[in-house]
């Protein structure tokens, strides 16, 4: 991927952990303060370590349950690793909330975790809709939400850490790959809420200089009646289809599109691909051969090479079996809990502002490599990947950005002519990390 971000650099490396001000285990000095009050080991002690509760909010039932389970598995794996590691001075206890994919239930679940369960940090939410429902509750309780998924951007909340890709890290590089190779006539299909609407709006903006949107259709969340959409695609013959459907809607669409491709070779994946910012290994496992050959962007693919990911995958295999493939939704939640725990350790307390100061102040190792969180927008730097769905349930990685891209959640530096974002040479970037990192 020809996206060069070298004008400014992401903070690199971990700060040496030796000088942590964290008190020794069992010293009784460890203070984790709840909303408005200090408390010591309020939730008990295990292995001589005080227990700290964190709230994990994923819908493991309902229309996008498969992604919710993926997020939950990732969060719980990180939690287990932290609890097995004696270098962490606390034990994390997960308090789980399952809103069942019903948007209106998210505020009540968040409220319960923050007020009744004493959590100050919540990890979770898959859809933007659910995140936006939880934010007022988080703000009211001075909590912090660790949101682990790719989303459409146009938000930068003081009480949220955004660990998934934002548009300059997903749809922009995806289109930089697709438009020159397949053509500029695109068909947009999405689930009927903010993710699809806004990602498709950005797509229209990206196509505006020389492309053409030949159709745009939406399905309600969970809807699977895709015949009209596929019929329209057959009639209008776009060069590619941008798919922002989620859950069963997406699976139904991919199935129907594959059937079209079997009848008319002009609609096979290699000729007219379905491209997506949210097609993951989870979908490949559920859809099977229908997804093969289509394109997706993500900040993590299971097939990623490198020692870090090899070690990570070995640990995944140890917990879930060798057949388990994980996706960016898994690693997003895993990374959220890891960064939260490492920041807790370094801050020496669970106060969200103190934790945030650490989290936005240095780089963190993740299965996808080193990332950092921009202190201004609370969004992560990411190295976008482009993959083609393979028959083995994973993605063949076609391209990878040379270096992590600074997050640009408001697409301030989008250069339509170049089809990529990045501050022009000599200009101060919007998100230059202010804290230096020492390796």
């Amino acid at each position: 991927m020809r996206i060069n971000n070298s004008a400014y650099e992401m903070p690199r490396g971990d700060r040496a952990p030796t000088s942590t001000p964290f008190p020794r285990r069992g010293s009784g000095l460890l203070v984790f303060s709840g909303p408005g009050q200090a408390r010591q080991g309020e939730f008990g002690v295990a292995d001589g370590r005080p227990i700290l509760r964190i709230g994990i909010v994923f819908s493991t039932t309902g229309p996008y349950a498969a992604l919710g389970r993926e997020g939950l598995d990732g969060a719980l794996m990180a939690l287990a690793e932290i609890n097995e590691d004696p270098s962490f001075p606390v034990r994390l206890e997960a308090r789980l909330g399952d809103p069942g994919g019903q948007t209106d239930r998210y505020p009540a679940v968040a409220e319960h975790l923050l007020r009744e369960e004493g959590c100050r940090h919540l990890v979770g939410g898959i859809t933007s809709w659910s995140r936006k429902e939880m934010i007022p509750v988080i703000e009211r309780h001075d909590g912090l939400l660790w949101y682990p998924c790719p989303y459409e951007g146009y938000e930068a909340n003081d009480r949220v850490v955004y660990l998934g890709a934002c548009p300059n890290q997903h749809v922009v590089p995806l289109f930089a790959h697709v438009l020159p190779r397949y053509g500029s006539a695109g068909y947009l299909v999405g689930s009927n809420y903010i993710w699809g609407w806004e990602t498709n709006r950005i797509a229209r903006e990206l196509m505006s200089p020389r492309g053409e949107v030949v159709g745009e259709r939406y399905l309600p969340l969970g809807g699977t009646d895709v015949s009209r959409i596929v019929g329209e695609i057959r009639d209008r013959r776009p060069d590619f289809v941008l798919n922002t459907l989620i859950g069963p809607s997406s699976y139904a669409f991919l199935d129907a599109y594959a059937a079209l491709g079997r009848n008319e070779p002009a609609f096979r994946a290699e000729a007219r691909p379905v491209v997506s910012c949210n097609l993951t290994e989870v979908e490949l496992g559920l859809v099977g051969p229908a997804a093969v050959g289509h394109l997706a962007t993500a900040v993590y693919f299971d097939s990623l090479r490198g020692e870090e990911n090899a070690r990570f995958r070995a640990r995944v295999a140890g917990r879930f079996g060798a057949a388990r493939r994980v996706s960016a939704f898994f690693t997003g939640a895993y990374t959220a809990v890891r960064i939260l725990a490492e920041s807790l350790r370094e801050a020496g307390r669970d106060d969200p502002d103190a934790v945030l100061a650490v989290a936005t102040g240095r780089g963190f190792e993740t299965p996808a490599g080193l990332i950092a969180i921009d202190p201004r927008t609370h969004h992560a730097w990411h190295r976008p990947l482009l993959g083609r769905a393979a028959a083995d349930g994973g993605f063949a990685i076609l391209e990878a950005a040379e270096a992590p891209l600074a997050p640009d959640p408001y697409l301030i530096d989008l250069d339509l002519a170049a089809g990529a974002t990045g501050a022009p040479p000599g200009e101060t970037p919007p998100s230059r990390p202010t804290l230096r990192v020492i390796r």
């Binding site: 703000e139 909340n157 003081d158 530096d413």
Partner: protein
Amino acid sequence: MTVTPPPARPSLRQWRAVVLHRPHASAEAVVRQLERLGLTVRQVWPELAAEDRGADVVFFDADMAFDGMFPWEAGSAPMPLVALIGSEAPGRVEWALRHGSNAHLLKPISSAGVYSALLIAAHAFDQSRLLRETIDDLRDRLRHRPTVARAMLRLMRTEGLDEVAAMRRLRSIAQDRRITVEAAAAELASEGDADAAGR
């Protein structure tokens, strides 16, 4: 007149914003969000400087605002204004409206609201400027109606045209010379006056 479609996403990187507010958490939140949006931001209090006339948007404290804080007449701000409102007392809202607020944000201000207030204010400002220009133009044409009538009468008389043909003729004269119908009418009417005077 219908509302014009919203403009394309503005490129905020080039925008300069002024936050006219005493040091306060709400003002800091606005500055922080504007900086996240890529704008160059200056926070000032209690008055705008002359250089701030060139700003692209001004967010001002509607609670403490006073006459004379803007270096222009009430209602003629050269840029979009966003009122930051804490006390929703009618007098304060009235003050903000009188000075031409295009959008508002309620205090306390946190992370949300600044982006949409900015877009709404910019659109409302453009819209009202467009309306004002349209109204000025219509008023001008209204003022010239007697002149147009005289010009048409002259064409009807001198060229033996009926009303419809005279109007068409006047339009084509204006079009050929790339001037407005009113300007063409004024010339014709004054030629007519000169003829009458010379006769």
